[in-house]
């Protein structure tokens, strides 16, 4: 996003307009931070501070007991490990497959409009439409409740993202270097792997981060396709919904544990945010 100031056409900026702007901005900042603050604070509150009116804004005796309970008694640790493994593997797979397809689409216009549209439309496919057959198919392939199964499912889910982000990058890349490589006797694959990809590396990295975040935060597939072994962090929150509604601390501790990596990663790819959100359609 360019940092040039943009005037909106008013002659000078009136005090009222400025106040209005900062009011809106200020409201939003508070709006964004309020629930997050509450979650983090609840995660360090002792249980006796839950059922109070007025609410305790900051505990007198903060504690990390909920973190240990969440990680060890509620199998938060296993969920965390699963999430890390699954998200990483899916990211690698999705980036590789996606970059390959994107290159082909960008350079050769493979499959024309139809292939491109088909891949893009997968982005909007409601998971609920395919979840049952996938559930049944996973069962017969022995992939139910396995990390491998989820990895494949997530790779599929994030392919549109990978493909389209890289497509935009490759289209911007001048062909001259690849052509030179071909003239030098490199095969197409080598031209791709050794010339194009390194040049597009920032794009690949950015796409990979978006894929990681998408998989890290996904709930629906994990809810239905996992059970005892391969469950991910988001599915654990389900356990806090039930009869014993009192484990606010553990739920918030898990939430904070899940939030931290994805927010940090998000900050890293801030510059590419618009591209990621719009699948490369916009450059921001």
């Amino acid at each position: 996003m360019p940092s040039r100031a943009m005037s909106l056409g008013a002659r000078g900026t009136s005090l009222r307009l400025n106040a209005g702007r900062f009011l809106i901005i200020g409201f939003f900042v508070v709006f964004v931070l309020a629930p997050l603050y509450w979650v983090v604070v609840t995660s360090i509150k002792p249980s006796s501070d839950y059922l109070t009116v007025p609410p305790v804004w900051f505990p007198a005796h903060p504690t990390i007991v909920h973190y240990t309970a969440a990680l060890f008694s509620y199998r938060g640790f296993q969920g965390l490990i699963n999430s890390i493994i699954i998200a990483s593997a899916a990211t690698v797979l999705s980036s590789i497959m996606g970059t390959m397809m994107a290159y082909s689409l960008a350079r050769f216009n493979t499959g024309g409009q139809h292939l491109a549209f088909w891949v893009l439309s997968q982005r909007f496919l409601p998971p609920v439409a395919i979840i049952l057959p996938i559930f049944l198919l996973f069962r017969s392939w022995g992939l139910y409740d396995t990390r491998a199964g989820l990895i494949f499912a997530y790779t599929f889910m994030t392919l549109p993202l990978s493909v389209w982000m890289m497509y935009a990058y490759f289209r911007q890349l001048p062909k001259s270097l690849e052509d030179a490589a071909l003239v030098d006797g490199l095969s197409r694959w080598q031209a791709f792997w050794m010339v194009a990809v390194p040049l597009a590396a920032p794009g690949v990295a950015a796409a990979a981060v978006f894929v990681f975040i998408a998989v890290w935060t996904e709930f629906f597939f994990a809810l239905i396709l996992t059970s005892r072994y391969a469950f991910t962090l988001p599915t654990i929150f389900r356990a806090f919904l039930g009869f014993q509604g009192m484990q606010y601390g553990e739920a918030c501790a898990l939430a904070t544990t899940s939030l931290a990596p994805s927010i940090v990663l998000g900050m890293l790819v801030q510059r590419h945010l618009v591209r990621g959100l719009t699948l490369g359609a916009l450059r921001g």
Partner: protein, 312 residues
Amino acid sequence: MTHSAAANLSPVSVGKRTAAVSAWADRHFKWLMVAPAALLILIFSIYPLLFSLWVDFVNYDFQIPGHAFVGLQNFVQVVNDPLAWSSLVLTAILSVTVVAIEFVLGLALALAMVKMFRGRGVVLSILIIPLFISPVIVGQSWALFLQRPFGPADYLLGQLLGRPVTISWVGEVPWAYIAIVVADVWQWTPFMFVILLAGLSAIPSHLYEAAELDGVRAAQTFRYVTLPQLAPIILLAITFRLLDAVKLFDVIFMLTGGGPGTATYTMSFYLYQIGFQQFHLSIATAGSWLFLILLSVVIMALVRRLMRAEAA
């Protein structure tokens, strides 16, 4: 070491074979490159859809043994279920509502933020945080925040309004709707904001300068300069957001559980409930197909338009 055995392994013949493979690979390069991804999509999209077509027409309910052919009965059950209709209607209304609100708020925020000020970078980083959070966590956080009677929301509102507020945000209509809208708006307004901000920043400044020279007032500049320039971007943002909003599930699941009663059942939640809580699998599949058909119409219309704009 016999000569004939070694001949097969000589560098020249190995080189010839690799060269042949290489040449073949080069000729079919573009197809080979799309093959892995296309295969995965086929396996996870086309194939399941075809399989589910079979499930649509048989009995697949765990309480009734066998998979007898039942014709259109599954579809009939879905169409006759008032809950299916209310879920569909709610999905439509909710998604349009949240997208509209997110658009307006996102635009307001973008307009406010487009001008440089000190600390803008930090503020920007804060404002985009919700985009990276799992929707279940969003639902959970708002459930806690809005909890009655120990959550801060009612208390703060009470302080603000000067009288006690005891709204049951997840247990009463229409507050449950408002809670869902608030949670979704919280998470996705930054989406609109970021895209619209990018669009605003890309508008060439000379257009504004010209308008200023002509003495055009701010409101009219906005209407006749800003909006038209922004139009394709608005279309993009709304398309993406709308097609995501109709899938609303995670927040419903964590915040209201579909309640009170069935007031906040969206299509995805309804199908999940029927399929994976009650295990009437064939009915759920029939419902998913109907939903998908309806959605495809919308997707076709919007996405094709988008692609045409993109190709330009």
